[in-house]
């Protein structure tokens, strides 16, 4: 399932993806708006804490030590999530109200790819929430929330 389709590589976050409902009708969205809303749905507390998860995903998609397969899975997952939204409710994920988006998430969480996609997104959200301020996406809010004592010395520069 993970490798059932390839997806556009260039300019991924800002690109347009077209989703067919199988009857010739198309919907369109961008990966950026899908991922932004998805991550808000999965862990709204990151936004409450002021964590810049959008910037962190940009870091991940360009990171030299995140494998091409993992990056590809994020990209494919965005497309598959929207396909499932169209199949269930005839429109893309971002156009659905909160309760229906939750239904889509529950639906995909029963599949192998969907469970993996949610897990990966949550993992990146947690990385963003608890990474050092040097990465430019958090400022210790996550550590404070969990009363976590950071290890010293802290890094002088981000590892990208």
């Amino acid at each position: 399932m993970f490798s059932r389709r390839k997806f556009l590589k260039a300019g991924f976050l800002g690109s347009i993806i077209f989703i067919s409902n199988g009857c010739g009708a198309f919907s369109a969205t961008t990966p950026k708006e899908t991922l932004t809303l998805l991550q808000e749905d999965l862990f709204p507390h990151a936004n409450t804490m002021g964590i810049n998860t959008k910037k962190y995903m940009q870091i991940i998609l360009k990171h030299s030590r995140v494998s091409d397969e993992d990056k590809e899975f994020i990209k494919n997952g965005v497309k598959w999530l929207n396909e499932d939204a169209v199949l269930l409710f005839d429109t893309t994920y971002v156009k659905l109200p909160y309760t229906k988006r939750q239904e889509v998430l529950k639906n995909i969480s029963k599949t192998k790819w969907g469970k993996g996609f949610i897990r990966d997104n949550l993992t990146y959200i947690m990385e963003a929430s608890f990474c050092d301020p040097v990465y430019g996406v958090a400022n210790g809010q996550g550590w404070e929330w969990l009363d976590f004592k950071v290890g010293l010395p802290q890094p002088k520069e981000a590892y990208l």
Binding site: D41, L42, F43, P44, H45, H63, S64, R65, V66, S67, L105, S109, K115, I118, R119, L122, T123, M126, E127, F130, C131, D132, V134, Y135, G142, W143, W145, L146, D147, F148, K149, V150, G151, L152, P153, Q154, P155, K156, A158, Y159
Partner: protein, 551 residues
């Protein structure tokens, strides 16, 4: 220039040679594949070190092929890159000793004569070592002084004989929960003791003492307190260190090694000539280099006419487990004690280093106890699932994470017992797959003897008894044949018989008069402790031998 000694690999196996020989006035060069980091380069960046694997090679550039051999003999082949299965530890000057936890235990006298004391085991190639504990003891003691080992000697029934009465450095400061542990052990009739650590508790040896940073294992030490090979030895000698130098071939005639060929970071090839070559590139990679250095004199690979190079690869058998302290079982004072960070737990149990079952004497092992690693992400991501194993998100996940991290803490244990050497567990070289240098990659053929699981299970049960006595919840453990990639040895075992061993008792190749192997490759059996102290001690022993030879 012809160096006196060329050392390949700068970890615990190579550095004592560099330290001793260069301080004795010999010209020594060390070739290290990784970069040269120093204390000022290190931080506790969990993302870089633990999530993005900053200190190990990218598997798309350098990988292994893994053949997992089941009990029925069937083989499953895994491409290390495709399956993200890494056997790299620390690719940097000082090697993985930079990243070790520094849990230091000596082998016991019986570990040197496993076959004589405990007898043969079907399907295992158990042998006695060609040296005794008494021959290595002075070097264990030397490591205590030179590298720096801290602890407190407590007499117990398997305490090994010592030439000194106490460690040269006092034990590290401990978390208050250790008192609960000691009490539980006492009630159970177990003899717990403070785990010796290769960590300086205060400034000494021209290094700074431990800063109790709360992050130790898996992270390089920013103070130099941890006795890694770079901080303890290489930075205290004038051996020439060439970093980012990947040795891909040793050139020999029929009696001696003449040159080491290496690629620099730009993949330009260079050669080093020396009178003596010391190979210490980590057990798997040392065998790989010998096999990849085949020539007309040694068509099976260097020092491999008897086809023993790569054979009898071993890991540390055993596994790990944990129990969870929950605030609701503790009073306020106990809760505070539990959540103290920075201080070490440091408790070990060797109550069953040898045990009897069914009238038979068994070799057992060591169990080390420690708090779960302070890295946040494994502790947070573990909460992604509910009791049914379904993934959760949103406020439900938020509350679950917060409760787990702020009102509970897990005490872990790690079991170390012998991984029996067998014909099925060995290193070979793949005839097709190559790394980024164009060099054939190593193949790790994995097989765990069923006996290893029985012993591990016995030891784990004792650890569970302690966790139950302490009142922890959700106790679980796993004993398996999964190899810990940071506890690997064998492949070039030493012995008196040139037909069945690669090295002689001095760790010199039987077939070549100037090639020594001093990483954990030499070990014919592993003992039931982490290997680093023994690797250091043996390397100091071999350094004396080489010094005499050069003199």
């Amino acid at each position: 220039m012809i160096y006196d000694v060329c050392i390949i690999g700068s970890g615990a196996g190579g550095s004592p040679i560099a330290y001793e020989l260069s301080n004795a006035g010999f010209d020594v060069v060390v070739l290290e594949k990784g970069k040269y980091y120093k204390e000022e380069d290190f931080s506790k960046d969990e993302i870089a070190v633990s999530r993005r694997n900053k200190f190990t090679p990218d598997l798309k550039d350098e990988k292994h092929i893994i053949n997992e051999i089941a009990q029925d003999g069937s083989i499953s082949r895994y491409d290390g890159y495709e399956y993200s299965w890494s056997f790299w530890n620390g690719s940097m000057v000082g090697g993985s000793s930079n990243l070790m936890s520094g849990y230091f235990h000596r082998l016991k006298p019986n570990d040197f004569k496993l076959k004589s004391v405990y007898g043969e085991i079907d399907g295992a190639n158990v042998v006695d070592w060609p040296i005794s504990y008494d021959e290595l003891e002075p070097y264990y003691e030397k490591v205590e002084r030179v590298v720096g080992v801290s602890g407190k000697i407590k007499k117990h029934k398997f305490l090994e004989p010592r030439s000194t009465t106490e460690f040269p450095y006092v034990k590290l400061e401990e978390n208050g929960v250790t008192a609960w542990f000691d009490k539980a052990c006492e009630e159970l009739g177990f003899e717990s003791f403070a785990t010796p650590r290769a960590i300086l508790p205060g400034d000494a040896l021209n290094r700074k003492g431990c800063s109790y940073s709360n992050f130790c294992g898996s992270f390089a030490c920013a103070t130099g307190a941890k006795g890694g090979a770079r901080a303890a030895l290489l930075q205290k000698c004038d051996a020439k260190i060439i970093s980012e130098a990947f040795v891909y071939k040793l050139y020999s005639d029929d009696v001696s090694v003449k040159k080491a060929y290496y690629y620099d970071k730009d993949k330009n090839s260079h050669t080093i000539e020396a009178k003596i070559f010391v190979l210490a590139a980590q057990a798997i990679e040392s065998s790989r280099l010998l096999l990849n250095s085949a020539n007309k004199h040694f068509p099976n690979g260097l020092a491999n006419s008897n086809k023993q190079v790569g054979k009898n690869l071993i890991f540390s058998a055993g596994g790990s487990g944990e129990g969870r302290f929950d605030f609701k079982d503790l009073d306020i004072k106990q809760q505070k004690s539990l959540m103290q960070t920075g201080l070490f737990f440091n408790r070990s149990l060797q109550n069953d280093y040898e045990f009897e079952s069914g009238g038979k004497k068994y070799k057992g092992g060591t169990t080390d106890f420690l708090f779960e690693h302070q890295n946040l992400l494994p502790r947070v991501t573990r909460e992604f699932y509910d009791d049914e194993g379904d993934i959760i998100w949103g406020d439900e996940l938020r509350d679950k994470i917060h409760k787990s991290i702020t009102s509970s803490r897990r005490l872990s244990f790690e079991v170390f017992n012998d991984w029996l050497p067998t014909d099925r567990c060995f290193v070979s070289v793949d005839d097709k797959e190559k790394d980024m240098y164009g060099v054939h990659v190593g193949v790790i053929n994995l097989y765990g003897h069923p006996h290893d699981l029985e012993v591990g299970e016995h030891l784990a049960q004792k650890a569970v008894d302690i966790l139950e006595k302490m009142g922890t919840r959700d106790i679980n453990y796993s004993i398996s044949s999964s190899p810990p990639s940071n506890l690997v040895a064998g492949g070039c075992r030493f012995g008196d018989d040139p037909k069945t061993s690669v090295l002689d008792k001095n760790c010199k190749a039987h077939e070549l008069n100037n090639l020594y192997v001093t990483d954990a490759s030499f070990m014919p059996t592993g003992g039931s402790v982490p290997y680093t102290w023994t690797i250091y001690a043996n390397s100091f022993r071999v350094a004396e031998i080489i010094k005499k030879e050069l003199s």
